[in-house]
């Protein structure tokens, strides 16, 4: 029920990051198109979308690295357009590009990034111990970052962005090129941060990662299509309208049903079909239709919609609404 907490208490919680009709254009290209949202303290807020959806552009505007073309935004109570210097002392940012110096050691990287945030003396010693602890690099302080495996680097980069204990941290596709185990460790670290009251704003194009966020914003072509907790996002589909069809000749079954009006979407996964129907009432007719078409023995059962189903649903909807 972790996911629900973020949403239900949103109203009473302090807003740490907000955007109001935030837009950014590059020439004729609209990278971010009137995006609005509010992120509460301690929330893990996910920005889900494919490459070019406008995720990085949004994050860069919020971090004060890029000025908005129009609209407003605040981070930690400061205006992103006019108070970027104040914001920069209160955020941590892990860019999509690798943000450590590979020709420096673990310790030298920590020292450098702490220096840029004016963290020094006893405070630095305390934060360095924390960073070495959460990254598991206690025994490798003098190792060059170039010699570390990807998972360690990623956690080190995150802890470098957190040395000054900022209230908000922006992570732009933080787990690219990292193995699943390291990715899980990384997300455990994000959960810890959130429990400690740090707001985590994270972009991803991975559905698995998005499932670990308290709330998810679906971004597509610069627009925010939907924003809610995962369970609520999934309620866009009526109960029983997402089916998993197992059958001997799945390819033939796909051919048979993909053009039916009651089928919103269908895709082949190995020997299974996953179909989204307009309504749960159509399940019966679909099943009998398949049986009569001679696709062999088959089982049809209702299944929970995935985040991917939700995402595709919203992209379709946005596409059908868009002017030709």
């Amino acid at each position: 029920m972790r996911a629900a907490v973020g949403a239900s208490q949103e109203a009473t919680r302090e807003v740490v990051v907000s955007a109001s009709e935030l837009s950014r254009t590059f020439g004729d290209f609209v990278a971010v198109d009137q995006v609005s949202f509010a992120v509460a303290r301690g929330e893990i807020f996910g920005f889900l979308g494919s490459n070019g959806a406008g995720k990085t552009t949004t994050i860069r505007m919020l971090c004060g690295l890029l000025s908005p073309t129009s609209g407003k935004g605040t981070v930690a109570g400061f205006d992103i357009a006019t108070e970027a210097p104040a914001i920069k002392t209160r955020i941590g940012y892990m860019s999509q590009k690798f943000s450590l110096y590979t020709d420096l050691t673990v310790d030298e990287n920590l020292r450098f990034w702490a220096g840029t945030y004016r963290v020094w003396g006893n405070e630095f010693a305390r934060r360095r111990d924390w960073a070495l602890n959460v990254t598991g690099l206690e025994s490798r302080q003098r190792a060059l970052v170039a010699d570390l495996p990807g998972g360690y680097r990623q956690r080190l980069a995150l802890s470098c962005a957190l040395l000054h204990e900022p209230p908000v941290v922006f992570l732009d596709e933080p787990t690219g090129g990292v193995d699943p185990e390291a990715r899980r460790d990384f997300w455990d670290l994000i959960d810890d941060l959130s429990e400690g009251g740090t707001t985590v704003f994270v972009t991803t194009h991975s559905m698995d990662e998005a499932e670990r966020c308290h709330r998810v914003a679906l971004m597509h072509a610069g627009r925010l299509l939907a924003l809610d907790t995962i369970p609520r996002l999934k309620k866009v589909f009526p109960e029983g309208s997402v089916l998993e069809i197992e059958c001997a000749d799945a390819a033939r079954a796909l051919e048979r049903i993909e053009d039916l009006p009651e089928v919103v979407d269908v895709a082949l996964f190995g020997d299974r079909l996953r179909a989204v129907l307009r309504s749960a009432d159509d399940a019966q007719t679909l099943e009998s239709g398949l049986r009569s078409a001679g696709c062999g023995p088959l089982t049809v059962r209702a299944t929970a919609p995935s985040l991917e189903d939700v995402f595709i649903h919203y992209i379709r909807q946005a596409g059908s609404k868009a002017p030709p």
Partner: protein, 367 residues
């Protein structure tokens, strides 16, 4: 502010320590260049290959030949019987000059009649030919009384007294320019690459999200190279003194001040270039072209500014090396005080201030 500058500067030095190629280039290149330029780029003409055609064969003619060889400038490369052989040897560059003593030389000399020696020169390299001709004239003038066996007293004599570089050695003239050249190229390239490297690797994006300000980044990036450049300059001067006997006659303090000012301008220019270039390759090319060519051609390093066409003279006023070399020659070779070269220092200050201002302004826009 100080802490952030220090953090960047320390990081820069740590990276430089591990990057032995760049560190080697910054500290080793000056030595290599000094050796190459100091030994190879010399306008001094010695060991001139001389062809001798003695048609006179008298003690007087032998005396003339000896005086050429004893001067230390000429070596006998060929002894010929026929003046017509001279042409072929000059063409082959077997000889650079030929001394032809006519048959009637001794007789005319003894009779105190007007008499001539023929001196044939390869004029293809006009500068060298001029120098050789000068030596030949001096030698003949000095030997004349001895040959004629009379005391000649010209009514008016010009007595040359060469100051600052009494032997007219070109290495002494070249070292200040060489120092300017080395410092300019290495400082521009070092800082330009140091900033662009961060853009290429993506660390600049992270740096931009921190509270680090443009001026802090600029100082943090330049101060380490100012240190390295100073060490490099001191080493080059020491080596020039040890190998080429270049004296440092003036004050070391002023030498340091002028050098630091010049370095600051070069480092600022490197930062400026780094704001224009997106890749290390482009930064390197821009850096080389904008620092090497003007410093080599338009600074008075090799070609005197006073003998350039007016247009080039005007262009040379924006080349900082011009002022540095002028001040350096004054301090190192002449040992004169600031009253003689303060205007060069003012020019260096103006250049440094403008470049650093422009670099900071451009960096602010990107930061």
């Amino acid at each position: 502010m100080i802490r952030r500058i220090l953090a960047i500067a320390v990081k820069e030095l740590l990276q430089l320590r591990r990057d032995w190629r760049t560190a080697g280039a910054l500290l080793g290149m000056p030595v290599v260049l000094l050796l190459i330029y100091g030994f190879a780029l010399s306008f001094d003409v010695t060991d001139i290959r001389l062809g001798v055609v003695d048609l006179s064969r008298t003690s007087a003619s032998r005396r003339v030949i000896e005086s050429f060889l004893e001067s230390g400038y000429f070596v006998r490369a060929a002894t010929l019987d026929d003046i017509r052989a001279v042409d072929g040897l000059l063409a082959k560059e077997a000889i650079q000059a030929a001394l032809v003593i006519p048959e009637d030389f001794a007789d005319n000399a003894a009779a105190l009649q007007p008499t001539a020696l023929l001196f044939v020169l390869d004029g293809a390299d006009s500068q060298t030919a001029n120098t050789i001709l000068g030596y030949a004239r001096q030698i003949v003038a000095a030997t004349t009384p001895e040959i004629l066996d009379v005391e000649i007293r010209p009514p008016v004599e010009a007595v040359p007294l060469v100051w600052y570089n009494p032997d007219l050695k070109s290495s002494i003239f070249l070292v200040p320019g060489l120092l300017a050249f080395i410092l300019m190229v290495s400082s521009v390239i070092a800082t330009a690459l140091a900033v662009v490297r961060e853009k290429e690797r993506g660390t600049m994006e992270s740096l931009r999200s921190t509270p680090v300000r443009a001026l802090e980044l600029l100082l943090g990036k330049t101060l380490p190279y100012l240190l390295v450049g100073s060490v490099s300059a001191a080493g080059t001067l020491f080596l020039a003194w040890a190998l080429f006997e270049v004296p440092v006659r003036g004050s070391l303090f002023w030498l340091a001040v002028v050098t630091l000012l010049f370095l600051a301008g070069g480092l600022g220019w490197g930062i400026f270039i780094s704001t224009l270039a997106e890749s290390q390759q482009v930064a390197f090319q821009l850096g080389i072209i904008s620092s090497m060519l003007p410093t080599l051609l338009l600074s008075g390093f090799i070609f005197p500014i006073s003998s350039m066409p007016r247009a080039l003279q005007i262009i040379s006023t924006i080349v900082p090396a011009r002022y540095f070399i002028a001040a350096l020659r004054a301090i190192v070779l002449k040992g004169v005080g600031p009253e003689m070269w303060w205007h060069d220092v003012v020019a260096l200050i103006i250049y440094g201030a403008l470049v650093l201002l422009a670099a900071t302004a451009r960096m602010m826009r990107s930061l």
